[in-house]
Symmetry: none
Subunit: 567 residues, 2 copies
Amino acid sequence: MRATLTAPTKEGTAAVATVAIDRRRVVIGRPDGTVAAFSFVWLRHNCPCAACRHPSGQRLVDLLDIPDDIAPGSACIAGDGALEIAWPPDGHVSRYDAAWLAARSLDPAARAARRPRPLLWGAELATRIPRADWAAMCAAPEAEVRALQALVDYGFLIISGVPATSGMVVEVGDRIGHVRVTNYGRYFDVRSVPNPTNLAFTAAALGVHTDNPYRDPTPGLQLLHCLEADAPGGDTILVDGFKAAEDLRDQDPTAFSLLAWLPLDFRFADGEADLATRVPVISTDNEGRITAVHFNNRSMGALDAPEEMVEPWYAAYRKFAALLRRPEAELTLRLAPGDLMVMNNIRTLHGRTEFDINAGRRHLQGCYVDLDGIESRLKVLSRGASRPGAIAEIERMFARRGAESYGEGVSQLEHALQAAALAEQEDKPAAQIVAALLHDIGHLLHDLPEDIADEGVDTRHESLASAWLSQHFGPEVSEPVRLHVAAKRYLCHADSGYFDRLSEASKLSLRLQGGSMTADEAAGFAREPFRAEAIDVRRWDDEAKIVGAATPGLDHFRPLVESLLRR
Amino acid sequence: MRATLTAPTKEGTAAVATVAIDRRRVVIGRPDGTVAAFSFVWLRHNCPCAACRHPSGQRLVDLLDIPDDIAPGSACIAGDGALEIAWPPDGHVSRYDAAWLAARSLDPAARAARRPRPLLWGAELATRIPRADWAAMCAAPEAEVRALQALVDYGFLIISGVPATSGMVVEVGDRIGHVRVTNYGRYFDVRSVPNPTNLAFTAAALGVHTDNPYRDPTPGLQLLHCLEADAPGGDTILVDGFKAAEDLRDQDPTAFSLLAWLPLDFRFADGEADLATRVPVISTDNEGRITAVHFNNRSMGALDAPEEMVEPWYAAYRKFAALLRRPEAELTLRLAPGDLMVMNNIRTLHGRTEFDINAGRRHLQGCYVDLDGIESRLKVLSRGASRPGAIAEIERMFARRGAESYGEGVSQLEHALQAAALAEQEDKPAAQIVAALLHDIGHLLHDLPEDIADEGVDTRHESLASAWLSQHFGPEVSEPVRLHVAAKRYLCHADSGYFDRLSEASKLSLRLQGGSMTADEAAGFAREPFRAEAIDVRRWDDEAKIVGAATPGLDHFRPLVESLLRR
């Protein structure tokens, strides 16, 4: 077993600096002091070499061909910071790039950062409804990426300017995914017709619901295209089912778990179809994350459960229904001809107000599209030019968590904008301004509260941030961010007055971060290529805590961010 | 509160005979002494009247309009055995037919009887592979119903005689459901092509797998249509994933629950798509029933789980993979041109042996279809029509051979009628009564004398009978019959006094049937979904040997038989 120490390389913080064996795991240490452990069998089974992975990315190695007592013959660090393992009996060599390992790290924060994090909303979203323009989406991939990302984040999107002609809804559907043919055909009309078999075709008000919960699988995306809307009334009501479910979990965890545990039967029957499912009102994954909501008063059946659970379930369902009906949960909007609404049908509930079919016309066309096509298209559009994806992600992080408290009276967004504005005032290069803007993005990437330092936890936000940044920017952005906490520890060592000038919160977090550097550590820091930039970022960080300071907005810095993104 | 007793009516055992209030529930008693309880809120919310249900079957009453302290003003029994409740404040009357209540009964047995019970299989199914003929399916709804029911029961079906022309696969797909367009288009070709991006297009052997686990939702049905099959090799291998999962649960419940708990990432990327999901290898519902299996070595990603769970998960996955590879789990068959295989893609794994593309041609076309369309079509096809053919055939069999001796002093017909009468006296469901009536129909189907056991020949009458019955009835009739001999061998193992109570003739035939079960065989029997029903049939079989006992005639059971016939 060899283990060699190498200098940090362009891979930055992700590089492997030490390697050790602990029980049946390989433990790697990184230059920033973080460690990550990977089981032998996991490493062997996930070997990314050409013999174990087809060029198409498909796995060739078969677990049953790997002995269950597999163990490395040797584990070394390559010059570029990769981990290299030779396996018995034939000396097969697996090479794991540092970035490859970092992207699959199994520590709780890294795993949490990889999970979807929907942006929850209520009536307050009325001032910033996710909208896109159809012509712009067709003209520029960036516009389409922004639109689809908003759909992923918020669970719905209004596309304007879609020609109000019959059948256009499936053209849009086939562009963003694949239209799913159902018992209603490739698309369906929503308007008053004689002898309705489905309440959606009458002029009555419709309570908020998800569509077709009686289908298994339930349609993932619903598109509704407004062709005519003369009739008074018939406004659209949207409710975030995930938000209501999270509120229920907060207010009454027992009710939440009952709805997530007991399935409900849904059914729809007409001349051509007789469709039935059994699914909980709230679906969760094994980590408790909400994955789907099925809510439809019209097609729900009689609860089929142990009799003793009927009353508690009804009490829980009643609470959830009431949360979905709160005025502050309802987003009301009016679709105009040419508007096309896309909804995540297992998250966003929709309904409509009553309308008078005698006073005007109302005609929508709808279709269903598979949900996973959206994320696929987003990834494909974001290939090569990673720009639109990263920009959107940064905007999303600030939209979602920028209002959270940084501490000391300012929000995360205010702190970021103040730091960037300070850098800009000093006429620093773009990379410095962007590093200042994004230096605390690690706090937005993980799910721990910012005042976590009070609880004795060092969140290592600078490592998280630089790992994410190095995917999208060069080291001139990611390295100063990675080092901005080390810079604080360095300044405590090198500048006798620095510690006294720190805020109380910053003095507290310093202890968790390791306190003042030793002379040896300071010598190491002084060899870092981006030490000066890191000290600058640190300075702005310390100053960007002025309550109520005026700064440019996030949009102001967008061109700078864009100019530095890797292509 | 009134409660009146009425005489049983044509509703038979389901009729309401007594009504009482117990806490916040209405408790009904039936003529057979069974009781059923329904919560007030459940009853009010499920009121089937025209004001509460739209003619289309959709619910109109809204839970939030029902007070949470709802309680009946009165509860009575109508002359026809229905339950009638008047509700405050306006005296709204809900009327629940006895049959309506019976179909929604919440006791454990009634609930279990409503759940799907797949027929699990292994290599032994080779002698009775579910097959259908395309022309026959198109000509007669009965043939299509039989074919689709077999697909539901076994998780796959071979349809022969589908014209071996390109594109026919989607014609079949659109007949039995709706073809689902994916990143591969409406249909795809499976044959060797240059520069493959997917292993399915090479000539290599393919381990058994489910398709597209990286799609969310995963395609439910896969169709594969054989157009050419000259090349040596390329045989199809099928494995019942539900059977392997049940075996894993038996052998190692901890491994089973780990695979059902931790999700695995799957991914597929090419020029047009980048699809990813996170789903457990085994999916279960809240009652522990297996609902899906996702297994694909090629597209599985690196396990993304707490590091401490990686080794145990791998050990569990290894066990499951080994169970899927057992020779006794593998059904090998060769598709000929014109054969079209339909598979439940979240249950039945498929693979193929290697083939030599230089020695001949091999060309399949495939498509995906939503799974729920099959059950919908089955229900729609079964509406209305009855099946005089099967009824006539049963009557003919008894007319021709019913007078033959069963042995022990009774005739075949007497034995059948006594068994059915015993089941009826115990108020068993119709399927049980019919299974009792027809359990020995295998003796009427073959031409060997009943005392054949004296000559040392086991006629396997139970296999003959269930094969015939499964053409006309669901598994709730055919499976108890198939298992009624196994039940005897099981009882000899499980019930120490059972053997001594057997008649001498039955003791003799037991030897031919294999004697008492071993512990392993008994464990296998205990996993059969219809084991309890089979033991019941066995019991009646053992008792239905009373010389001269009075029973109803065959006509008495005719409506029951008719009600259970597949349509």
